[in-house]
């Protein structure tokens, strides 16, 4: 047996930069924070590598200098660029938007639950510092670190996504909107605090993690589809009757047809419809009837969702049927959230998440202060 212990006697402990509860927090959660950094760093590295190639291609194709991206001058280059890079730009954000939930799950949920589960809270809360100070220090420090990490990742993502800002914008739900701006960081903060509260109430790590995942996802879906459309009334646009060169759209999906005009490329298109002279929106069967009446075959693209590209003057139903409609007194409408509203939406939604996070944090502190063992 080693007796090296004697040599240590009386020597003052090593002192680093951190003292007190910040050191305790660092020591106990460095693996969780390291894991978070590793995941964000790994994905960040992919964004950097992929982003450099994508930005390079954007310049090489001359898209940075050819003017209006949707004009004829850029058409071929844009198609080429989209063919190569659109996939990740559309799908990757949908996966990345889940990161805040994961961070909250792995850092937040075990924070108190593990102490309660293993009984170590009896040690941690009886060493001379009140448990309220203990939990406040841990919540504040970890929340700050996670939020800063999330903001950093958001900024990197924003750089990566840069070329697409003017091509497809960042207003669509479940896409770039969720990872850029401040919503991503606010959601990380909320997930962490929610995890801490779930762990405090449930007192077991794994169930607390599961509860955090389910609740966080529920709140995110609710804010995406429930809250966000309410932030501002969508802009409504009706194509002028008989206008020949209006961008038109016709969509067939699972046997239902909708016809309308299209929103700006960078906007979040909320709805598209055809209305009659008195302003009534046409239903899918009514449109199908009209298609028969105008001698267009509605049966062609069925099954999966198919969207005909709004290419003016290329012939086919996407051009001529809407023209036929406008000639017969119908109007083509679209409602959308324009790209200019991005920061307003982000601000409102992030504020809601920060508020929820503060409520969860306060509930955690209150619960630990009042009742525990």
């Amino acid at each position: 047996m080693s007796v090296t212990t004697l040599e240590f006697t009386g020597r003052p402990a090593r002192r680093g930069v951190l003292r007190g509860l910040p050191w305790v927090t660092w020591r106990q959660h460095r693996f969780a924070l390291g894991g978070a950094l590793l995941v964000l760093g790994g994905l960040g590295a992919f964004l950097v590598i992929n982003g450099l190639a994508m930005h390079h291609a954007f310049h090489r194709y001359g898209l940075a200098t050819c003017g209006d991206l949707f004009s004829g001058a850029c058409h071929v280059q844009l198609d080429l660029f989209q063919q190569h890079y659109r996939g990740p730009a559309e799908t990757l954000p949908t996966f990345l938007m889940l990161l805040p939930g994961l961070l909250g799950l792995f850092v937040g949920a075990p924070l108190v639950a593990r102490e309660l589960e293993s009984g170590t809270y009896r040690f941690a809360w009886t060493q001379g510092r009140s448990r309220v100070r203990w939990i406040v220090a841990k919540l504040v420090i970890l929340a700050t670190v996670l939020t800063v990490l999330a903001i950093g990742f958001s900024l990197l993502f924003t750089w990566w996504y840069g070329p697409w800002l003017s091509i497809m914008g960042r207003m669509n739900p479940a896409q770039a909107y969720e990872v850029s701006g401040i919503v991503f960081a606010a959601r990380t903060l909320f997930a962490f605090m929610l995890g801490a509260l779930a762990g405090t109430l449930i007192r077991r790590t794994v169930p607390a993690m599961a509860a955090t995942a389910v609740l966080w996802l529920a709140v995110v879906l609710l804010s995406m589809f429930g809250l966000r459309p309410l932030i501002e009334t969508p802009v409504t646009h009706l194509a002028a009757t008989g206008a020949a060169r209006t961008p038109l759209a016709i969509e067939f999906s699972n046997g239902t047809a909708s016809v309308g005009t299209v929103a700006p490329q960078t906007a979040w298109e909320v709805a598209r419809w055809t209305q009659d002279a008195s302003g009534h929106h046409l239903t899918s069967p009514q449109i199908t009837d009209l298609l028969k009446q105008a001698n267009f075959d509605p049966g062609l693209p069925t099954g999966g969702p198919a969207r005909a590209a709004p290419v003016p003057g290329s012939g086919g139903p996407s051009d001529t049927f809407p023209t036929w409609l406008t000639q017969h007194g119908y109007q083509l409408g679209v409602s959308y959230q324009p790209a200019s509203r991005f920061w307003h939406f982000q601000g409102v939604e992030a504020a809601a998440y920060v508020l929820l996070a503060l409520l969860c944090g306060a509930a955690t502190i209150g619960w630990i202060r009042r009742r525990t063992a």
């Binding site: 240590f8 305790v24 009896r122 001379g128 009140s130 009742r371």
Partner: protein, 302 residues
């Protein structure tokens, strides 16, 4: 000064009454044993004393009026919880650093002196230590904070006899050197006399016995006599417990020292283990300081 004072202290968990109207005044600078069967409410009482739980009813103060859980109380009380919950993934050195950063006052040298006697490498993870070593580390950590009151919940329950002996030896040395008050719970009643000088017996959430060990032993006697006379003898005594044989009966009873036994009865001393067991078996008998309980509460249970 009292180390712990409670008044009608009650704690309920849901419908379970863990503590039921406990009134206690445990003096300071004593080594106090809190004994009772499992589920008697010992841990609850200790958790209330260190601020890990709060009372449902009644009040509790520590070290002359401080509220458990307050900063003042937290800094003056050291606590070693049941099964000595340290962070298993930390080394001993990191555990010391953790406490240094967690506590307001910390004497690293003292803790390391205590640990050096154990000859355990400081870089070993707590999870790799034996139960006895973990208990020793917990004690060293608690003593390193120089508490006025040290509260230990079943500190030796899981230790083998040798480790138990070593643990109590270090504890007693610290008590002798620093004059700290100690309150420890135990469901092991043997060897109590050697280590404690004040006794609290808790049963079913109620205080059954509370008193100075010497006084308790002074005031309790075992009377042995013929079973035929047992009822008559018991009537003149505060019998805690009667053990009835065919011919002979022995009564453990509470009595004044100068009390003369009934004719034909021998009187002898008792020991703490017998005394505690007698009270726990009787279930209802009490021996508390202050106003004596009425005679009717003191009845023999055969």
């Amino acid at each position: 000064m009292n180390a712990i004072e409670t008044r009608s202290l009650s704690k309920r968990y849901g419908r379970t009454r863990a503590l039921d109207g406990c009134t206690l005044a445990i003096p300071a600078e004593r080594v106090v044993a809190l004994v009772g069967p499992n589920g008697a409410g010992k841990t609850t009482l200790l958790h209330l004393a260190v601020g890990l739980a709060s009372p449902t009813d009644g009040s509790i103060t520590v070290l002359g009026g401080a509220l458990p859980g307050s900063n003042d109380a937290l800094q003056r009380i050291g606590f070693v919880a049941q099964d000595t919950p340290l962070y298993k993934n930390l080394s001993i050195a990191d555990t010391l650093r953790l406490v240094a950063n967690l506590s307001a006052s910390w004497d690293e040298a003292s803790a390391r002196t205590h640990l050096s006697r154990l000859e355990i490498p400081l870089d070993r993870k707590v999870g790799q230590l034996s139960g006895g070593q973990q208990a020793q580390v917990s004690l060293a950590v608690a003593l390193g904070r120089h508490p006025e009151l040290l509260v230990l919940d079943e500190p030796v329950a899981r230790l083998d006899p040798l480790a138990r002996h070593d643990f109590m030896a270090i504890l007693m040395a610290a008590v002798a050197e620093e004059g700290i008050s100690v309150l420890f719970s135990s469901h092991v009643v043997s060897e109590l006399e050697r280590v404690c000088d004040y006794l609290v017996v808790l049963n079913h959430g109620k205080v059954q016995v509370a008193g100075d060990v010497e006084e308790l032993l002074e005031s309790h006697r075992i009377f042995t006599g013929p079973t035929a006379d047992a009822a008559a003898a018991a009537a003149s005594l505060l019998v805690v417990q009667a053990q009835q044989g065919d011919r002979q009966t022995s009564l453990l009873a509470r009595t004044a020292p100068e009390f003369t036994p009934p004719e034909g009865w021998a009187v002898g001393p008792t020991n703490l283990e017998e005394l505690v067991l007698a009270y726990l078996r009787s279930g209802t008998a009490t021996s508390l300081p202050g106003p004596r309980p009425s005679n009717s509460e003191m009845r023999a249970s055969a």
